[in-house]
Symmetry: C2
Subunit: 498 residues, 2 copies
């Protein structure tokens, strides 16, 4: 798609991966950003195709409105509308803005009907604060979302209504240069894996990244600032609050007061992990800039896995992606806690879904074997009745390995337990009622009990080449890729080609 004159393509072809070589070739940080910008800015053909699709769908939506006598305005919102979208993106947001006098049921019904009517039969019904319709149209994926038409935050009835305010606010401030800086910022966030506010990522929304660039003035200044961030971070473009007030209103590690709605933290969805990654990656990027931050190579499973790992793959009940991700997250943390209670030392865990019908939970263990003895503390020796009961409960029992004996004024007993963690896990997974009792969401518990496939280091390479591969690489090795790209600069060596 891009010409051979682009040195990035040339170097990528040569498997050249770090800035050392760019430096040798005379490629500076500025050049990197220029190259990336060229890559991520939609080409004229791409823009034209988008514009055609947008005007076509708007026309259709106005036609069905007029045909049925409906009362909405059609608005093109989001990054495609403000020219901050990344080349290759195919997502278009079209909002049907109803007058505030319209009742909510009509809004929902009409919104869905209109979406379906322009879809040529292929549509998906989704749900955010209202139901909305997703269709494929002229090569783009178009969300048709009903909302109320509002002019300020006091009129907001639901989260989707706010989108038009964001649009108006940004349209006023953005310049073509800033749009480019935003594209760099989005590409950077995407490259380091923190782009997206969904449960899946708990990262930075497109709007939040736009605000950061607006606030700091450019991609590079935003990254410089982020490399110095220390939570709690407070950004309040419209100066609605003092920092102390902001901290009191919003309890979060990063607070970005929404300029169109002072009651909202635009960074509320940002989790500790994404925030940490953003700070760390900014730091490393400045120390050792590389194109790889924007275009990370795909990760592959190694040829051999020596880590102790258990991956449970099962049929996931149908649900909206955010529900799927958050239920998986809960299942993962509950099962992990259960294994830890049974003595397992868990180094890490993760969860994944294709957002359709497959779910996966992964656990990385320090060892499959745990000591079969577990120390259990009882009452103090001066608690006479409790001591007698403790002795009676444990002395000479089948599962008592030693004791009761006295240690530091207390009765203590050593109990036997299952030393094979895999057995503990399998027993749990075969029993949905135990899973439910420890807090695993019941739909997931039931689904796992019905059947799951278990992969350990012995057979996990069977998953090479499947959709799970990228996820598994991150479970096996959580080292952020940007740490490796940045490495040479941390330990300077004479460039090989100098």
């Amino acid at each position: 798609m891009y010409g051979g004159s682009n040195p990035y393509n040339y170097l990528r072809h040569q498997h050249v991966k770090t800035l050392d070589v760019y430096k040798v070739l005379g490629v500076s940080l500025d050049s990197i950003l220029k190259l990336v910008l060229e890559e991520v800015t939609p080409k004229p053909e791409e823009k034209k195709a988008l514009e055609r699709a947008v005007s076509d769908i708007i026309r259709k939506l106005l036609d069905v409105r007029d045909k049925h006598g409906w009362s909405y305005d059609v608005m093109h919102l989001g990054s495609t509308a403000r020219d901050t979208w990344l080349s290759g993106s195919r997502d278009i947001d079209i909002f049907l803005a109803f007058p505030l006098s319209e009742d909510e049921r009509t809004l929902e019904e009409v919104g869905v009907k209109a979406g379906i009517e322009v879809s040529e039969g292929r549509y998906e019904l989704l749900y955010s604060s209202h139901p909305y319709v997703r269709i494929e149209h002229m090569g783009f994926e178009i969300d048709i979302v009903p909302c109320y038409k509002v002019s300020n935050a006091s009129q907001l009835r639901s989260a989707v209504d706010r989108t038009q305010l964001h649009q108006r606010y940004l349209k006023e401030k953005l310049t073509p240069r800033l749009c480019g800086e935003i594209r760099l910022m989005k590409a950077f966030a995407k490259g380091i894996g923190v782009y997206g506010a969904e449960t899946k990522t708990r990262g930075f929304s497109g709007y939040l990244l736009e605000l950061l660039v607006l606030y700091y003035g450019s991609f590079l200044e935003a990254v410089r600032a982020a490399s110095r961030w220390k939570p709690p971070i407070i950004i309040d473009i419209e100066r609605y609050y003092t920092p102390r007030e902001a901290r009191e209103v919003f309890d979060a590690p990063i607070i970005v007061v929404d300029p169109v709605d002072r009651r909202r933290n635009a960074a509320a969805a940002v989790g500790r992990q994404a925030l940490s990654a953003f700070i760390a990656a900014s730091s490393v990027f400045l120390a050792k800039p590389s194109i790889l931050f924007f275009k990370p190579p795909q990760r592959r499973l190694p040829n051999e896995v020596s880590e102790h790992i258990a991956v449970v793959v099962f049929k996931l009940p149908k649900a909206p992606p955010d529900v799927q991700w958050s239920q998986l997250e809960k299942a993962c943390s509950k099962i992990r806690a259960y294994m830890e209670e049974h003595g397992a030392q868990i180094l890490g865990s993760g969860f994944w879904t294709d957002e359709v019908d497959t779910g996966a939970l992964a656990f990385k263990l320090a060892s499959w074997q745990i000591p079969e003895a577990r120390v259990h503390y009882g009452p103090f020796v001066w608690q006479r009745e409790a001591s007698m009961k403790f002795i009676e409960r444990h002395l000479g029992r089948e599962d008592t390995a030693e004791g009761p004996f006295i240690q530091d004024f207390r009765w203590v007993v050593v109990k036997k337990r299952e030393s094979d963690v895999l057995k503990v896990l399998k027993r749990l997974l075969s029993d949905s009622s135990t899973m439910k009792s420890i807090g695993v969401p019941s739909r997931i518990a039931g689904s796992i009990e019905e059947g799951y496939k278990l992969f350990t280091e012995k057979n996990i390479l069977e998953l090479k080449g499947t959709r799970l591969e990228a996820f598994l690489t991150k479970v096996i090795d959580r080292t952020p890729q940007y740490v490796r790209w940045g490495r040479r600069d941390l330990n300077p060596r004479p460039p090989a080609l100098h």
Copy 2:
């Protein structure tokens, strides 16, 4: 030695061990105490032999004094002097009391010379606050200890001087009945393993037990009180302090103000373990009295050891027993801490010496294998310089299993380590400089490096029948024996013979 008319002997012969049977036979708590008292009270022949030995040694010491023109008084002190010794005991304390005008060097020289001169050539030179002489004489082991003759605490020059004050104080208070009660108390403390103030036991001295009986009035009342003790326990017979003052002056879990010296806690040597055992055993004894509390059966190694256990046996450098025990204690705790730092989960540890030339350290482990992965926490992501250093130190290194990665705002790395605890232990034991650096006393470190024998569960039964056996039984199973004797009463069943 004791007649067949003693039902205790009869029952012992029949391997009858608990009071259930005494109850069936009509043997009450009173009868038990009567039987025990009969056992522990020295027989007339025994007393006569003791008196003969004492008057003989006193005569000899006076003879050498007069011969040389020395200036001491000879005093017979301790339990044999106040008739509170246990039948079978062979220890006699003879003090040579010098006038306060005597200078210390003369006192030491004369004391030692006199002891050697009456010893018929077989003596041992020992050291408490002064040097003293231990001799064998007419079947008894006699300590000949030089001290100053004092009449009250203000004149005390050393701990041994206090003994004559104890003697005077107790002689005034004791009656034949109380002497019997003290014998019961000593036998009880001995039976449950807390008799003796030495480092080896950190338990109750004979004098302390005498004070407890004096204070509570009888063995049984003392045990009843002890069963209700909760630290800090304060006993101040002469009422020198208010309880609050006593707690301020003495920082200890049990405070028994010495009636002859208000500055001294007569229970200062009592450790948490012995105190706990005394409280717990008193409780169980009252719930289920048994002769076994006074005459515990000898413990034997089992026929099979499945516990994970390491016993290091080595030549112990010559030193006074208290020094040997406390150096072993230190070595044991330091080596234990070292293994724990290396990931071992240690369920218990112990140390032993024959007080001559053999030392032993024992460790009981939950497992010989530990996970080869260890999580190591680094700086927070906003600590930029430290983060870069951390990444540089760990990324791609031989002993890095995973990471660095980010968890909860921090850099984390998983490091590899030795997973075989036995290897960790052996490496340590072969290297006295490492042992010294972690705080193992240097004489012990050097001695172990020169050579040791290691026993694990695989070969520990080779030690059956050796002097280490009783010690090892307690390492393998720390359950106090009195808990087992008391058990039936905690879980009442119909008596089998009723």
